[in-house]
Amino acid sequence: MSLTKPVPPHHAAHGSRTPRSRGAVGLGLGVALVLLFVAIRLLAPEEVGNLLSNSVQDFFTLSISVVIESLPFVILGILLSIGVQVWLPEGFLLRHLPRNAVARRIVISMLGVLLPVCECGNVPLARGLILRGLSVGESMTFLLAAPILNPVTIITTYQAFGWDDGILVSRILGGFVIANLIGWIYSRHSSPMSLLTPKFQASCAHAHDEVPATRTRRSVDMFTKETSAMLPALFVGSAIAGLIQVGVSRDLLVTLGQNPVLSVFALMALAFVVSICSNVDAFFILAFGSTFMPGAIVAFLVFGPMIDVKMLALMRTTFTARTLVQLTVIVGLASAALGLAVNALA
């Protein structure tokens, strides 16, 4: 990667400096900022923490842990999205998909096997796929299926539950069916673009204007734009998740967990609140294992990767609020039906 790549004239015209010195100044500025943040970290006085009450402190610890846990997955998702948009030949992924709409969605719901990111990494990737021509309904199928139908999630779920109570099988099949159902419903929408936020629509409209710049530059530029969309949502979503956890008693949820019907809804509420990644949620719920009915666990493992506080914040960068409400209701009802069915059979 070179910093001296020629810059199109109309950019250089911003200032009288040459592109080379501009790059050097920018680089210097970047390094200075990194050092500034490191200095803040190193010089922050230890005593600050003592000013906070236990609950406030725990709010910060919980929110920070969601950020620290999700950030690497978000970065990975952005990198994969850059790979799809900038480095793969135009239409590479989409050209090989079947023409038939149903078969196409089925293949799309399996893409997670190739691109094993958890749900927070999927949002940037899905945005990239829409820009590359995937329809809105298909992007939802991908978004909902990939966190469940991917090798990491399947392995961790297997490690946690084995074949007990059909939890693993119900999770995989449930995720697959719900994702395809949603894709089918939204494929029938008369103007799918209206499901997207105006800002993202604008990006789509410009997606095919090739910017005259090197791939490296476009990659870096995309990184800047995607982080600007994703990171504020991640931080705000994590703070909300932390806040709810400090405020809502776990006891209440666990008490509800003994009832075959209520336990399903209680665990879906828990999944919505804790917002942990699908790659690891099986371990989390294992800690409650015997308190809850298997159907409730299935509902948790199917609903959580698709919809939760953090995901809604991230998806809001791309879809309108109205669309997300519909999506939440449909996925919620379908997950609940699945959970209740498993409980009825268990």
């Binding site: 970047g30 490191v38 236990n54 970065i75 990198l79 410009h206 530029d221 956890q245 006891d251």
Partner: protein, 268 residues
């Protein structure tokens, strides 16, 4: 101008806050306060890759902006001909842009405060109380091998809590010395006489931390110790002398001393 700068750089700045926090926590061995050790290398590797992009983002001049809502609204009405006024954006879009920039600035400041200024800490007894201690033992139990008959010399509070559940027969503990470290949290059933020496058991990250602990019988413990204090205890498991409470077996201590919080306060 400032608004545009914030809109463009908010993601990079937030990423940088997260990256510096992650790498610093990793370098000082404190990443375990937030996530399970199995994610350490992945988090640090992605943070370092992210750092390369962040620095590169500063080195390149921005590519032409996509029109965002604010400029769209400004540009769309073509009949805006007598724009002799010095306001290129209509006031409404302008205000929305200002609010958005202000919120972004607040997010950046709060994120910096939370991740870079606050000292990293463990969860406190507030969360232990809220998540009801040992509620998860039954399932942790199911996933761990039986501890009955194991060598108890290196047992943590987690192992003891599981063992107490697996084998409630007091005779079994007659010749077994307990030596554990944990923090103090009051028993919800019998707060006068019993407290737990607890640790958080973490499966993924601090979000899923489950408090788990050994009940200690010591009437009037509040006069000597306070909640959240870390204690090292030795002693033996005995029948709970108090009749109230859910715990049939408790630790009766021989020695009980205030100690430093261990480097890795959670158990995995």
């Amino acid at each position: 101008m400032l608004k545009r700068l914030i809109a463009r750089w908010q993601g990079i700045l937030l990423t940088l806050v997260g990256i510096v926090a992650t790498v610093w926590l990793g370098a000082t061995g404190q990443l375990g306060l937030y996530i399970h050790p199995r994610y350490f290398w992945f988090s640090i590797a992605m943070a370092l890759i992210g750092a390369v992009f962040v620095v590169a983002a500063f080195a390149f001049t921005p590519l032409p902006e996509e029109p965002d809502e604010a400029t769209d609204a400004a540009a769309a009405p073509e009949h805006h001909e007598h724009s002799h006024h010095d306001t290129p954006e209509p006031p409404r879009a302008n205000r929305a842009g200002t609010i958005r920039a202000a919120l972004a600035a607040v997010t950046i400041v709060v994120a910096t405060g939370a991740l870079l200024v606050l000292p990293p800490t463990t969860l406190t007894s507030a969360t232990a109380t809220q998540r009801s201690i040992n509620s998860a033992t039954s399932s942790l139990d199911a996933s761990s091998p039986t501890l009955v008959g194991g060598d108890t010399a290196n047992f943590t509070v987690k192992d003891w809590a599981l063992l107490l559940r697996q084998n409630p027969d007091v005779g079994y503990y007659a010749d077994k010395d307990v030596d554990v470290v944990g923090f103090v949290t009051a028993s919800p059933d019998d707060p006068e006489n019993v407290f737990y020496l607890a640790r958080f058991s973490v499966t993924c990250c601090a979000v899923d931390a489950q408090p788990i602990g050994v009940p200690v019988y010591l009437p009037g413990w509040q006069e000597q110790f306070e909640e959240d204090q870390w204690l090292a205890a030795t002693g033996a498991i005995e029948q709970n002398p108090g009749s109230t409470g859910d715990e049939p077996l408790v630790l009766v201590t021989e020695t009980l001393e205030v100690t430093e919080q261990p480097e890795q306060p959670y158990v995995f």
